[in-house]
Amino acid sequence: MSVTPLKRSNKKSLGHKIKSNAICYALTLPYFAIFFIFTVCPVLISIFLSFTTFNVLEAPVFIGIENYARMFLDDDVFIIAIKNTFILAAITGPVSYLLSLAVAWLINDLNRFMRAFITVIFFAPSLSGNALLIWTVLFSSDAYGYANGFLMNLGIINQPIRWLQDPKYMMTLVIVVVLWSSLGTSFLSFIAGLQGINRSYYEAGAIDGIRNRWQELWYITLPAMRPQLMFGAVMSISSAFSIGDVVTRLVGFPSTNYAVHTIINHLQDYGGIRYEMGYASAIATVLFLAMIITNRIVRNLLSKVGE
């Protein structure tokens, strides 16, 4: 078995290259074949369907870019959904990312027991799929809701507030609940990343004249965990743009005046209720492009870390 790690074998035929890299394919193909069949193929089919009209029962009919034209020219609700999605993503994405990083960094110095304990508390909301239903009880619209009961008891309000139906409060509540459950994937990968940093970097840094904790964070810690930062960014982007289920479970579907209607809600409306799969696929493709662009921008920002 000849392996050439991190070196490109030059001037050989493709067949020879594949043969000499047999071990690499043996390592990667079992996973990749499954990934390709159950993830890549469905995505490619969906992108193809976005150029068709398809009601699931009959064969798809090719209609060119009609779905895309309709989305931007003829669908007012979609425009509202874009606006809401971008507001939600712009607030919850960066806040949850920075919060995850800050909490992970702050608890990194604690002793083992405290660190494990705090990690459990902060991660618990994202452990259970149904935990967010608690918020519908806390903010229920009648006097039995905790928020209303509490405020009425203090005499601040006389009438129960319809928290989850009044557009004035809906967006804020969705943001709060999203942030509440957002110390998830990125948070844990930051914790593991921080703990994996080689101690000798810090000793070398002390010799090189690192003066305070901020310098240490910027010049040593963050650059050492750049791959985890990138991972966290991708996860944050994909979850910030995919807010939808929270909205449905919190304020119902559709939300009053579409006040917190997101692109995902719109997509689920067409894909899951109306069975206009062609149109739903076009919406998914547009969302996909928005995430790719955001990812590019964030990647450029992250490459400046430690400079």
């Binding site: 050439t4 290259k17 594949i18 990934f35 608890i107 909301p125 994937t185 305070n212 969302l287």
Partner: protein, 290 residues
Amino acid sequence: MATAKLAKRTKQLNRSLAGNLGVYTVLFILAVFMVLPLVYTLVSSVKPLEEYWVFPPKFTVDHPTMKNYKDLFTMLTDSMIPFSRYLFNTAFVSIVGTAGHVILSSMCAFGLAKHRFPGSKIMFSMVVLALMFNTTVTRIPNFIIMSKLNMLDTYAALIVPAFGSSLGLYLMKQFMDSMVNDSVLESARIDGAGEWRVYWRMVMPMVKPAWLTLIIFSFRDLWNIGSTTYIQSEPLKTLNYVMSQISAGGVARAGAAAAAGVIMMIVPITVFIITQSNVVETMGSSGMKE
């Protein structure tokens, strides 16, 4: 002398007492915000139904009872399919799916992180891109693919796609990039270690925090699988599906629903505590070796 001076300097990087206090206060407030809703579920699960409707609503419980749990188990044992069957389905899918995903994705991540070969870059970018495509619209194509492969209504419909989930590969690859030193692997190869040995004996121990973290992500997602179009026959349905049927029963079942919520949370939280305490342990011991 020199080392003492160095140690003193590293010490100085720690925060002041006031800073510490500030940080702990903020962490404490955040922690309360995080944990209160969960405490509420726990409290509700031992709250008798009468106490659900008092005004002003109370966070605490006056007469804690296990009645909600008893009701829940009565409902579960009265169903056509025994509760143990649903529990087995979910446990089986979660354990096999997680194990397969961790092994296959870390193998592939090792191949992609430490070797360069035709197709490696494309493979990796496809995985990262896949994280950004919403799964609502891929459900129908997936359904068709599974029916062509005769996988519908089998455990495989839930387990096999989980093996190839994109999250694990990306996570493992990123950790191997930052935590595995190429020169160490190179010297092992010179000593005659094959690639499989390098992967299993050297790389995997080095990225232990990564796969311990991946276990909890994968386990959580599989444990929470509820109703899905891929599974139609009742004996193959999952625990979360049954629990959500109970929660859908309305206000009269509020207590039983809270009990169901607690039970659904217990297992992932236990798995989480076990894996997370090991993440910390690994790092402690590897620090000694350095």
